[in-house]
């Protein structure tokens, strides 16, 4: 019962805060509305990832094809690929296909952009629910610590900024945590275990469809799945290795999704091996004045991951002044204590969680652009933020009565959630330091603070309903105070309620 209430609570606060900060405008924006209007900071299409995906949705919804018209290609520029006179966004197609029904629905009510964008928070809330279930059921954390993990990820990290706009990060988190949970259920040999197995493959296939690096990011879950399927037993003269049939049988789901994905590539890009991100760049045509002197070469996307980038990438993602995880969200420092606390009790589940975070750090440290372009915080680490928030819960639960642990968590949450909310209410179009220096502008959340002072918000609700009655700072204060009161209740009151219950 308590878990059900907690789940309702997560849905409630998730819906409320995500809705109150959701980026958008009313109406069905036409292609002509993008340039120098909707593509400006705080506007819903301020950066090319959301423009690219939305343009693909428009092409699918309005023309029934994945090809971009010249007009749409110009919106997505410079992240436009080119193949045989056709244009495509560089981004993996999954999000565009998945959000399409919401676009079509919203279009009926002149709210196409808002409903399309709402796909991400909807999936984000599902991710929060799975995080909670992992904390409660797999890690056996108390209710309050599980909820703390959830609100740290949802509202104490810069994941918030990407839960309210059309990016792939929250859906990726959803597929990662839900498939992890599914493997655990599958391992527990529940009656419908094969269904959980099928779900793991489904999640893996769809995760790759929305973002190609998920093929690597989710590998720890697949290894967990494999290990959970493998049983060994010693008999008198032999050792028997048994692989649960469900592991292989349910792989048909992955094969099906992957086949569709490859067919999509073949149909639009000329070969099943070609990913949208590896298409020749339209930019090179533009830079050549519209003339092509020689055929364009495909890009080798894998070549962007190089070990030699890793020291700088790791620095950028963790402590750099423009993107550092621990600068934007120092609350994650506590997760290191959580990891340290379980060092002698690492079971398969903990190992998988650490593997997920490890692969995420490893992969994006060596990515050529660790900043994630113009972005708010280390957006590539959003999957790790979900995992690390669980370890904060682990650390807290190791000594439930420790006031020091709770107060330090709370103080760090005060800081981290303020930064998170600031980004969510303003803009993700924050330049990395190297560009900011060149442009003589600020380069981290101080950049966003100026937007806050100037009442420039990306929030659909604020801009539509409150901008005339409240300053953005007042709106920020109301949301923030509500949030930190909720956090205080979870950290300080909820454990006591439980305590009193036991006392009686």
């Amino acid at each position: 019962m308590r878990n059900t209430i907690a789940i309702l609570f997560i849905v409630l606060i998730g819906s409320a805060f995500y809705l109150l900060t959701l980026r958008g405008i009313a109406g069905n924006p036409s292609p002509s509305a993008f340039k120098n209007n909707l593509d400006q900071a705080t506007k819903p299409f301020e950066l090319s990832p959301e423009r690219g995906r939305y343009a693909q949705i428009m092409a699918l919804g309005d023309s029934g094809t994945y090809e971009l018209s010249q007009e749409l290609a110009d919106i997505v520029y410079p992240d436009v690929g080119y193949y045989q006179g056709k244009f495509f966004s560089f981004f993996a197609p999954g999000i565009s296909y998945m959000a399409l029904p919401l676009y079509l629905l919203g279009k009926q009510y002149d709210l196409a952009q808002i409903t399309t964008f709402s796909f991400i928070p909807l999936v984000g809330i599902l991710a929060l629910l799975f995080l909670f279930k992992i904390a409660r059921e797999i890690l056996k954390l108390p209710l309050w610590a599980s909820l703390t993990s959830v609100i740290v990820f949802a509202f104490g990290s810069t994941a918030w900024s990407y839960a309210i706009t059309l990016y792939q990060h929250l859906p990726s988190v959803f597929f990662i945590v839900s498939s992890f949970y599914a493997v655990w259920r599958y391992k527990a040999a529940a009656p419908w275990g094969w269904l959980w197995g099928a779900y793991v493959w489904l999640a893996y296939g769809l995760a790759i469809f929305i973002d190609y690096p998920n093929a690597l990011l989710m590998l720890p879950v697949i290894i967990y799945f494999f290990v959970a399927s493998l049983h060994t037993r010693k008999e008198q003269n032999k050792i028997v290795f048994s692989l649960r049939g469900a592991f292989l049988a349910t792989a048909i789901v992955f094969i099906g999704i992957a086949s569709l994905h490859l067919y999509h590539n073949d149909y639009y890009f000329g070969s099943w091996k070609v990913l949208s991100g590896s298409l020749p760049s339209y930019r090179s045509i533009q830079e050549a004045g519209g003339e092509l002197s020689q055929p364009l070469e495909r890009k080798n996307v894998a070549g962007y991951f190089l070990e030699e980038k890793s020291p700088f990438g790791f620095y950028t993602l963790t402590v750099a002044p423009d993107r550092g995880l621990f600068l934007y969200t120092p609350i994650f420092l506590l997760s290191l204590f959580g990891i340290f606390a379980i060092r002698k009790k690492i079971n398969l589940e903990y190992a998988t969680l650490l593997g997920l975070a490890g692969v995420n750090f490893f992969l994006y440290s060596s990515w050529g652009d660790p900043w994630g372009g113009w972005a708010y915080g280390p957006r590539y680490l959003i999957p790790s933020m979900a995992i690390l928030s669980l370890f904060i819960g682990v650390w807290l639960s190791r000594d439930e009565n420790s006031f020091l642990r709770k107060i330090s968590t709370y103080l760090l949450f005060l800081y981290s959630s303020a930064i998170a909310l600031l980004g969510a209410l303003t803009t993700n179009a924050v330049p990395p330091k190297i560009e900011a220096d060149y442009l003589h502008t600020k380069y981290n959340f101080l950049f966003n603070y100026d937007f806050l002072k100037d009442d420039k918000s990306g929030s659909f609700i604020y801009n539509t309903y409150f901008s005339n009655s409240l300053t953005l700072q007042e709106y920020f204060a109301i949301l923030y105070l509500t949030l930190i009161l909720i956090a205080a209740a979870i950290l300080f009151v909820l454990p006591r309620v439980k305590y009193l219950k036991y006392e009686s």
Partner: protein
């Protein structure tokens, strides 16, 4: 419905038997020899054996001992330590082995094989576990940077083998201090290491220090210095004195010999530290350009060597070894773990120190700003940490349960995958092929001219400036005049026509400065020689046969 595979225990027994056959000293010798030959064949076929500029210099130094205008041991010079060159001497006598660089492959390859074997033995000494020891050898043997360097005439493998041998026998002595033979062997191999590269000096210093610490009665530390003698038993004190003197006499004799050598041959016992050819003098140019980032900056020096080690070892193996390092630090069951770690860390301490002091420089793309002239130079120094990683990973493998062992095995495969996929560059090879250390990426056009037109006679060239690659021309070594050929060199700078038929000079090298830019010699140059090759940087003159020497 499950998919089951049954493996009869007899098969496992067979597999175990096969492993036991391979994981023996004999098996390791065969395996490492096969790998050495395969890697050398690869390097040879791709022209990488003498890719490094230093590789040819090592070959030439050794060659001049036996084939030169003025042959003899004095040709060993006073900057680079002599042992690697002395080991090359028997092989460079054969022109094919000298010109191809295979003389160096033989020496480095042998060092590689012995290193693999003794790493295995060292790991076995520490863990008493054969599979873990085999893992140590595998990590070393399969490291592509090691495999490349062992195919070249560079001196890294020579130092590695002698340092591993010295550490192995030293640890044997630590485990049983009645094994005086082990201590003597540790000193003897320390002696050899100290005559291979300067890193070896720190190794023997650390070994001597460990010896002192080893006999200090830590449990009964006196409160006052005056109580030291009273508290120490006479036997312990005598043991300390005896062992340290025994070790130091032999090991430090190497340093003494080198100082004497420099004093006798070059007139300055410290010639190697401050002559114009010394490392420090070479770093001065970088310093003046503001491109010596680690100089007087300990964190940066640390970071540079840390990352250089990581890149040579392989990022995954390196991270595992760091974890193992932490585990070993807390493992009270492993006796003398602090001493073992200190010994294995000697290259780290040495290189951080030399980077900090400006005695050496490393440029690595991971850290070096792209605004620098070069971003890849001397990264092979990080190779010295491979034995450290091999032993530490083996230790963690030994300490792990089955799941941990499988995980480590999987991660080692991942590391191989990272190297093969190009994610991790084989950085020490890249430096030789395309970095600042490379010779083959900078071979001048003049080289081709000489290769095609050299028709005999003595060639005056500044070897230090590496204007041309002698091994890539038909010029016999005994037909070159360089700074080590007294009195031919000095006399040629005053009267170039006296011995030389050919003069090869590069802008601002010794010959350029002493002949081309000096009015007197310049006049003689153009009187007796004809300029046969001109490029913006290099000029080649040939003796005019129509003008007899005056």
């Amino acid at each position: 419905m499950n998919l089951s595979i049954s493996i009869p225990k007899i098969w496992l027994g067979w597999a175990r038997g096969q492993f036991d056959k391979i994981a023996t000293e004999k098996g390791l010798l065969i395996l490492s020899a096969v790998l050495a030959i395969a890697a050398t064949t690869y390097s040879y076929l791709h022209g990488y054996v003498v890719a490094y500029g230093d590789a040819e210099s090592h070959l030439n130094i050794a060659k001049r001992v036996v084939d030169s205008l003025t042959p003899g041991f004095a040709q060993l010079g006073g900057i680079w330590l002599p042992l690697p060159h002395m080991l090359l001497v028997p092989f460079v006598k054969f022109d094919f082995l000298w010109r191809s660089g295979l003389a160096g492959s033989i020496v480095s390859g042998t060092a590689f094989i012995i290193s693999s074997l003794y790493l295995y033995k060292l790991a076995k000494l520490i863990t008493k576990n054969i599979p873990a020891s085999f893992v140590a050898a595998l990590i070393f043997m399969l490291n592509p940077n090691i495999l490349y360097l062992q195919s070249t005439p560079m001196s890294e493998l020579t130092l590695i083998v002698f340092s591993i041998l010295s550490i192995y026998f030293f640890v044997r002595f630590l485990y049983d201090d009645r094994e005086i033979t082990s201590l003597i062997l540790a000193a003897a191999f320390g002696f050899a290491a100290a005559l291979s590269r300067y890193d070896g000096w720190l190794l023997i210093l650390i070994e001597a220090g460990v010896l002192i610490l080893y006999y200090l009665p830590w449990k009964e530390l006196p409160k006052r210095i005056s109580e030291v003698r009273k508290k120490w038993s006479r036997i312990e004190w005598h043991k300390l004195e005896g062992r340290v003197i025994l070790f130091a006499t032999l090991a430090f004799f190497s340093i003494f010999l080198w100082l004497i050598w420099d004093g006798l041959i070059l007139g300055d016992p410290l010639y190697f530290t401050h002559s114009q050819f010394s490392a420090k003098s070479q770093q001065q140019a970088w310093l003046e350009r503001g491109q010596l980032p680690a100089y007087q900056n300990l964190p940066v020096a640390f970071l540079y060597y840390f990352v250089t080690s990581m890149s040579n070892i392989g990022v995954v193996v390196f991270l595992i070894s760091l974890l193992a390092f932490l585990v070993l630090l807390r493992d009270k069951k492993t006796t003398h773990r602090f001493y073992i770690l200190l010994l294995l860390l000697f290259p780290f301490i040495f290189n951080v120190g030399t980077l900090y002091l400006g005695q050496s420089v490393i440029f690595i793309p991971h850290l070096t700003p792209t605004t620098f002239d070069w971003t890849l130079f001397n990264v092979r120094y990080g190779l010295m940490m491979v034995p450290f990683a091999a032993i530490l990973v083996a230790y963690l493998f030994y300490r792990s349960k089955i799941a941990g062992k499988i995980l480590i095995g999987g991660l080692l495969f991942l590391q191989i995958g990272l190297f093969m996929s190009g994610y991790s560059k084989v950085i020490s090879m890249a430096d030789g092929v395309e970095g600042l250390s490379s010779a083959i990426s900078k071979l001048p056009d003049a080289q081709v001219y000489l290769r095609d037109n050299y028709d005999g006679g003595l060639v005056l060239t500044d070897d230090f400036a590496r204007t041309i690659s002698i091994i890539r021309t038909p010029i016999p070594m005994e037909s070159t005049i360089y700074v080590g050929n007294k009195p031919y060199w000095e006399e040629s700078l005053e009267a170039p026509e006296k011995y030389a038929t050919w003069i090869v000079m590069q802008k601002d090298d010794e010959i350029w400065r002493n002949i081309y830019e000096q009015p007197g010699p310049n006049g003689r140059l153009f009187k007796y020689f004809v300029k046969v090759y001109t490029s913006p940087e290099i000029l080649i003159f040939k003796r005019n046969p129509d003008v007899p020497a005056g």
